[in-house]
Symmetry: D2
Subunit: 139 residues, 4 copies
């Protein structure tokens, strides 16, 4: 039985193919999970210089997906079943947002993970998410 786990390059290629419009980038994979980033520019800011909440929700959702694929192999049919996001602080307008995702549980049909999001180079988290993904049985 071969190891289903893709390399970072394989995951990156998959991400670019499946989400051609995504601005999320895969920064690192390790045994604990994955690190992803999203640039912040005009598109991501709201008046007042706030990073839009949906940017962080999108990043959290993609990070969970990639963290699952990094463990079970590339299963494009995994779907989000729930996501809870708490917004904690105002992110910086001039830095990327970085998401660190770690799986809490990876069952046969359900994966649960958490994501901490912070502005690049800052310690305090700006948002925290917990999400669940359904993993299709046929793998």
């Amino acid at each position: 039985m071969t190891d289903p786990r893709p390399t970072q390059a394989e995951l990156d290629a998959f991400l670019k193919a499946e989400f051609p419009q995504t601005r999320c980038t895969l920064e690192a994979i390790d045994d604990d999970g994955v690190v992803m980033a999203h640039p912040i520019g005009e598109t991501e800011l709201r008046p007042g210089g706030t990073v839009s909440g949906p940017v962080m929700m999108t990043l959290a959702d993609v990070a969970l997906y990639v963290a699952i694929l990094a463990r079970v192999g590339i299963v494009p049919l995994a779907v989000t079943t729930s996501l809870t996001v708490n917004f904690l602080r105002k992110p910086r307008a001039d830095r990327r947002v970085i998401a660190r995702c770690r799986l809490m549980k990876l069952g046969k049909s359900l994966a649960v993970g958490e994501v901490w999001i912070s502005s690049e180079g800052e310690e305090e988290p700006v948002a925290h998410a917990v999400g669940t993904y359904a993993i299709p049985p046929q793998r």
Copy 2:
């Protein structure tokens, strides 16, 4: 004391000014809440014809924001503090998604609301969200 509640046209103008890139549109306001919509096209679909989760999260977040503004007046500093989304069914790839948002609580500093999302013309919901917004004190 004047009624702080904006008209649908005022809210629509505000939405276009504050979120110039948004594709969410305000369809209706009534005493219970607001109805908003999001078109579905290439940008919103993932391979397999699934509407991307972040599209629905974005719509839910904006619908909550607009439902609050419809009640308290245009307070551009209200910020999302939490959002929980449950994805229930696969939306149709060929129809808009429609969000009906109703506030559960509108306190001085915190508003809580729920959003039901369905494909236009369908009865079964495709997603449900509950969100909280912090309302700044100076209004």
Copy 3:
């Protein structure tokens, strides 16, 4: 194939057998879902006359469970996978709390429902919950 749906009396008997210590009571079942209640006395109050949050979480959890059993038949192994509760207002100290639970989705392996909780005789909700249950395949 026989209808798996139990009567209210059957559900009530099951509830008393499986949860001998519960103070939750089944008040009604209809096509939309179930209504359950919990008495409020010394045990449920915290200093200041507040109904304890865990009483409402317990009631929400049991109401979801019973709403699922009312539809799929008595499947004692269904387990809660997530519960999100928003506390909206202070319940009355001198009335029962009433939970109305409605399922949003009843899939083969996952059920999602919402629960509105209010003080008996009052219209405004005191809490709202959304929960998911995993339903075991062997039924």
Copy 4:
């Protein structure tokens, strides 16, 4: 200005006074948060030897409350505004459940924290919770 932070003995005394029926015990306080425990016996088990979900929700709720009091001083009016719990694995029927709570944010009016729950002596978490508390302004 005096340090508002209570000692572990003071918090323990407060907990016993405010929640005379609680079976939750305070095990440790440190700069990161608090550790609390709940015994498991007949009352906490459901048929099949499963620890009841409400026991874990109650423990999570109390742990968040105590973690806030440990930082801001004994403010008995802090109230839970939301709690999201994900149940991950079946706890052991023969061991206490242990909750480790850490605050993510402690603002003037809102605190957000997470709680990891595991069976005593086991590494894998059995549940994870994220909760928000409203802190009254007059302190």
